[in-house]
Structure formats: C-alpha cells, structure tokens
C-alpha cells in the first residue's frame, strides 16, 4: 500500500496484509529489546534461523523479532504461538531441542519452562506466569505481536484507527474533551491532567503551535519510555498526530535520549514509514490536516527532561532551565505555544480514542486513571517492566508480580520517582500507588522507576548517590541548586566516611528545605527528596553512621570494622572550604 489518501484505505490495507502474509503453523517470537540483546537474543535469533534452514522449516514456521516484552530478568526469551509457550534464559544450544520438541512435536520442554522459585511449580504458558498474569497490559501487550520495523504489524493491531476516528468523526474540541473526561494525567511525573494542558495550548492565539514528545528519560533505573519507543513506536506517533490535531499544531518534535540508541533507531524508522504511507505530512489520510515530526537526539544532559531545558536544547542552545510562567503552553519553542507530554502519555492517547473515555476512566483510582508502567528493578527477583492499574498496592507489585526479594534477603525500602523521588519503607508496602498517595508519603510517581532495596543497601550511601547525581546534572543557572546540592553532597560524603556530626541531620534538612523552596526548576526543587525521605523514614540509620560510626548494610567502606578492631573513622583533614 502506498500513500493513504482516504480513511477507508486503512481497512483495505489491513485486509491486504492479512491476505498476503503467509499463515505459518507456528510462530516463534523473540524478545529483542536492549535487555534481550545484552543477554544474548541475537545469538538465539541466529540459532533459530540456522535450525529452521537446516530442517527446511522456513515456510511453516514464522520468526517474529519484537521489542521488549517486559520480563527482562529472564532474557533472552521466546514465546511460541499459537500455544503461547514461554521459554526464558535460553542459550543457543537449546534451540535444536526447542524446534524438535515444541515446534515439530507440540511438546513442552519442562526444563525450559518458567519455574516459580517459591512453589517450584512450572508454568509452560506465558499468560499463566504470575509476572504476566497479574498485570494489566493495555500498552504493552501488543509488544508481543509487533516487529517495530514493520508498520504492517501495527496496522494489523488496529493501528491508526483511532487517528482515523479523531480526524473524521470528531472535532478538535471533542478530542480534547474525550482525553479530559478519560482522566489521563501526565506520565512524566507531575501528573498534570493532559486534556487541560492541551486546552491551554489550543486557547492561545498564535500562527504556529508545537507539540513535543519528551523521551529524554533520564531517571536512573527507569526505562519504560525507551521500551515503548523500541517496541511499539507507532503508538506514540499516532498519539502525537491525534494530539496535534486537537491542539492545532503542524509540527512536532520527539526529543530522545542518546543513551537509548535502539529507541532512536526504531522511532526514526517508524516516523519514516508513517511519512511514506501518508500518515504524516500533508493531508493526513486525505484530510485537510497537515502535521510532521522531527526527531532530535539528546546529548547526554539529564536536565533536558525538564521542559524549559528541553526546549532550549531543541533550539540548539545550552540546556539551562528558565522561570515559569510563562508556561510552554503560552510561550514555548521559539516563543510559540507548545505542548509537551511524555512518551507514555502519548501512547495512551490512541487507546482512549479507540475505546472511549468511559471505558478508560473505569480503570484506576478516582483521581488517577488508567494503567502505569513501572520499571521494577534493583534487588527484586523478577525485574522488568510492569504495567498495572493505578491504585495497585506496592506489595502486589513487588511480591505478587516481582516475586519478592532476590537471594532470600529481606525487603528494606523501595525508591520511586528517581532522583526527584523518595524511599518508602516496609510499613508503606500496602500503599495504593497513585500520584497523590506517593506525594503524601514523601515520594513521587516520577516517570515510574521502582528500585527495590534489601538489607544490604545503605540508605545514607543511596542518598549520597542521588545527591552526587543531581549535583553533577544541575545546569548551574540558579544558586540554590548549584551550590546547595554540592553542600548536601559534601555532608553526606562525610557521614559515609564516619566523619559526620550530630548537627548534620538538621543541616541537611534545612538545606533541603531551602533548595526545594528556592530552586528555579523541577530538578532543583525535587533534588533534596531522596535525602529528606531517607531521613524521614530511616533516621536511625543516619544516627548509626554518625554516632556509632557503623554501616549495618556494610556498604560504606570506611565504616566496616576489620576483625578485632573497632571502626576507625578517617582523620578529618583541616582544609579550607572551596567556594563555588
């Protein structure tokens, strides 16, 4: 199918793809995201190809290479359809047996099937594995069916039908109303209602408006955005076109982190395909609506996740943040009204238009609707991408889906929201997760990082780690953030070396409050959170470091006692403080 010039051609195209595509008896799906490749998925693909050739099975067995399925811990993994048999942690040597038994003889190989580490029970089918079964995968389920290099796969998954509906059956105002009444809130962290944001931008009188997809996912331990872009890039593009139509923008930008090369590659391929088929550019699907997308690769500055810095970076300048107001909706890119949403927010848009606000708003809690993808990582048994309805309890995510703590250790805390968020202790495991509950507990949703820690993680060292990060990534424009984070970092370094003083806790709290109140942008305003939340929930641990010069987690090296010795704090050198 070449250029689509009429909405009805979508259905024709889909029918033609179905007709032309061979229907193999079996299809082997290989998860080939970044984690998959790092764990050897390319070797599995090669072994599969070799074995299929050797047995002359290319005609009867399909091989589908997809992006990330979410179960990163057990990569490389495959799923065999139509049965849905799942094999994880495969080695190329396993492949001949997989073909022999599961493809040719329809048998499950018990030794390769997923085994629940707690009960010892085997789960041969992907859909039965607790990690998958307990999720609600509205955004991620299609990842199993889509080769991100082929727009045809997205078309088969009902792709671009929401766009057709928006362009031809709805006015721009109706689209905004639909998104608003669905209750969608920004997935980048702040949780601002998406429909309201779109309306603000649309209301501004201007010749030119822009929309931006913020894919500068920089929080360490957070990677759902790059997975969506790598596995189902068209869902983001479709969401953006619908948003542009609603807002009245003719140009969009996707700002992607350079540290996610696979995401950059896949979104570029998808954008080019969408252009080729008349889904981007002039007269989309034959309508009177024109819109195109540019892709901008970031250059390794965390601050660019902050919207005013991101816009400065797109303009080719140093990415320093600026005061708001004016908000981007009033004066954004090159001074024009601009709407910025995060990758996951955009990916939710086609879903809402396709299935309706009423359906969408039934999922989640009264104030936080829909699902949220979390990157469940750290000391967790089954790490990966987890999509659950808003309002799911931390305990359900960590224990029922994630399988609990690794290596039989004890849960200590979970960090949410990255460097802007905080640590939640065991008492809060039954907290239902939504935007507001997390803020109340001293953390934030952030973009969905969830880093689980056990007794071998030192909370003071963790706070130091985050402060080091924000201090390095501060753009340097405002004093509270530039100098304040340095001061907090230096105090934390002293404490982890056994040179802490009792007054340090009060100093950290006071500095933290000042930085939060006085910083120019979100980076600085939230930078003290990891420190303040660990002081709030793990005060004893700080005391232990300061008073007893002990690190029970045995992380702070200067505080680990050698046998027969007490811990010896390093001598504090009298040194003149350097001023910034």
């Amino acid at each position: 199918m070449k250029q689509l010039t009429h909405p009805s051609q979508l259905a024709v195209w889909k029918a033609r793809i179905l007709e032309e595509r061979p229907v193999p008896k079996k299809t082997v799906v290989v998860s080939n995201g970044t984690c998959g490749q790092a764990s050897g998925s390319l070797g599995i693909i090669e072994a599969l190809g070799r074995e299929l050739d050797r047995r002359d099975l290319r005609e009867t067995v399909g091989l589908e290479i997809t992006g990330c399925h979410g179960f990163c811990e057990l990569e490389p993994n495959i799923v065999i359809y139509p049965e849905g048999i799942y094999y994880g942690r495969l080695k190329p040597e396993d492949i001949p047996m997989v073909i022999e038994k599961s493809i040719l003889k329809n048998k499950v190989i018990d030794a390769l099937a997923y085994k629940d580490p707690k009960t010892g029970r085997r789960y041969p089918l992907q859909k039965d594995i607790p990690f998958y079964r307990k999720q609600m995968r509205l955004l991620m389920e299609d990842n199993l069916r889509i080769d991100p290099n082929r727009i045809e796969d997205y078309i088969l998954a009902e792709g671009y039908q929401a766009l057709s509906r928006a362009l031809f059956d709805m006015t721009a105002e109706e689209v905004i109303r639909e998104i608003d009444s669905a209750g969608l809130r920004g997935r980048g962290g702040a949780g601002f209602p998406t429909g309201k944001k779109w309306q603000f931008c649309r209301n501004e009188i201007a010749d030119r408006r822009y929309i931006i997809c913020n894919a500068d996912e920089g929080n360490p331990g957070t990677y759902m955005d790059r997975s969506i872009l790598g596995a189902n890039p068209h869902s983001v593009i479709e969401g953006m076109i619908i948003g542009a139509y609603a807002i009245g923008a003719a140009e969009g930008y996707i700002y992607v982190r350079m540290e996610a090369p696979q995401a950059v590659r896949q979104i570029t391929i998808a954008r080019d395909q969408a252009r080729k088929h008349g889904l981007l550019g002039k007269s989309i699907l034959g309508s009177e609506f024109h819109f195109d997308i540019q892709i901008v690769e970031g250059a390794g500055a965390f601050i660019c996740g902050e919207e005013t810095s991101l816009m400065a970076s797109i303009e080719g300048r140093r990415a320093v943040s600026r005061q708001r107001p004016p908000f981007p909706a009033q004066s954004g890119l090159w001074g024009q009204p601009t709407n910025i949403n995060n990758v996951e927010t955009w990916a939710n848009v086609p879903l809402i238009i396709k299935r309706g606000a009423e359906w969408y708003s039934q999922i989640g809690t009264p104030k936080s609707k829909g699902t949220k993808i979390f990157s469940l990582v750290g000391k967790i048994r089954h790490g990966g991408q987890v999509e659950v309805p808003m309002g799911t309890k931390l305990r359900e995510i960590i224990y029922d889906i994630g399988g609990g703590i690794k290596d039989g250790k004890k849960f200590k805390a979970v960090q949410t929201g990255g460097p802007s968020g905080g640590c939640l202790p065991a008492q809060l495991l039954d907290l239902a997760i939504d935007y507001d509950n997390l803020v109340q507990a001293g953390s934030t949703m952030g973009s969905g990082g969830m880093i689980v820690m056990d007794e071998t993680t030192c909370m003071v060292d963790l706070a130091r780690h985050y402060m080091h990060f924000t201090q390095e990534e501060s753009c340097g424009k405002c004093v509270p953030c530039r100098v304040g984070t340095r001061q907090m970092h230096d105090i934390l370094v002293r404490i982890t070396r056994g040179e802490g003083e009792e007054a340090d806790l009060a100093r950290l709290e006071e500095l933290g409050e000042s930085i939060t109140a006085a910083s120019l942008c979100g980076l600085g305003q939230s930078a003290p959170n990891p420190v303040l939340s660990t002081i709030r929930h793990f005060r004893e641990e700080y005391f232990e470091h300061i008073k007893h010069r002990k690190c029970a987690a045995r992380v702070c090296r200067q505080l680990i006692a050698l046998p027969g010795q007490g811990a010896r704090p390093a001598q504090r050198k009298a040194k003149k403080r350097q001023h910034d």
Partner: protein, 148 residues
C-alpha cells in the same frame, strides 16, 4: 566537513545534531570543526564551544580505540556497580573521561543505560555486558586487549 554540513540548515537548532555528526565522523570535535560549524551557522566559536561543553556527549579529545562505558545508574549501583566501577578504573589505570597512554581504552560513565533489570552493566564499543561482577572486569578487558 563541507559534505557533512550540507545536510543541515543554517539555523542554530541544528547545532547539536551537527556536533553529533562531526563526532561520529572524527571520534571527537576537532578545533577546526568548531570554527567551521560556527561559520556555517553564522554564529561565534564561543557559542559553539559553550553549547558543546554543556553536554556530556561531546569530546574535545580523540578517544582510545575501545570505549568502555560503566553504568552508574541506581539499579546498577545497588547491585554492586560501584565495585565494578572501581575495579574498571584499576584495570585500565585511568579515571573516567581519560584514555590509557597506549590509546587502547577510554573510560566513560553513564547515568543509566536503561537495562536496569540485568545490571550491573558495562558497554564496550556498543556491546552490552550484563550481570557484571568485579571478577568479570579483567576478562572483559582482556578480550579487547587480545584484539589489539
């Protein structure tokens, strides 16, 4: 350089993308390139230099034959990444941002590579190593030393 610049507009918005291209071509941003880019965009060398030093991505020195990147993300950190990083500094005998005297290896850090469930992660020339332990560091580097 002329061919490279021809692909881009003369507006400042293309500056970071031009610098990416220059670095992909030369492995770093040579001083002459700064002048040429400034001319192309009708701006000052100062401006180009200011932008490129703001971002972590751009290097002003050529790097070694092999680029070793150690992830410093939180998930890698609590899974033993700090030890891996120290061992890597010891193994190569350089600090992050530096290149070994024989120009074989450059060491860099990254704040997150987005494969957090399989960390600690090390990347050498684009090849990802997952679940890296302190003991693995020597053998990973030895593999590249052999290649010369």
């Amino acid at each position: 350089m002329d061919d490279l610049l021809r692909e881009f507009s003369r507006e400042q918005k293309d500056l970071t993308q031009i610098l990416h291209k220059v670095q992909a071509e030369y492995g770093y941003i040579p001083a002459q390139a700064i002048r040429r880019v400034a001319e192309h965009l009708n701006t000052t060398e100062n401006e180009v230099y200011g932008v490129l030093t703001f971002y972590k991505a751009y290097r002003l020195q050529p790097r070694g034959k092999h680029l070793v990147t150690v992830c410093q993300g939180t998930s890698c950190h609590i899974r033993g990444g700090a030890g891996v990083f120290d061992e890597m500094k010891k193994e190569l005998g350089v600090e992050p941002g530096e290149t070994t005297p024989d120009r074989m290896f450059s060491l860099e850090t990254v704040n997150c590579l987005g494969c957090c469930a399989i960390g600690p992660t090390v990347v050498v020339n684009g090849t990802y190593y997952s679940h890296v332990s302190v003991e693995d560091v020597h053998s990973i580097i030895a593999e590249y030393r052999k290649r010369k």
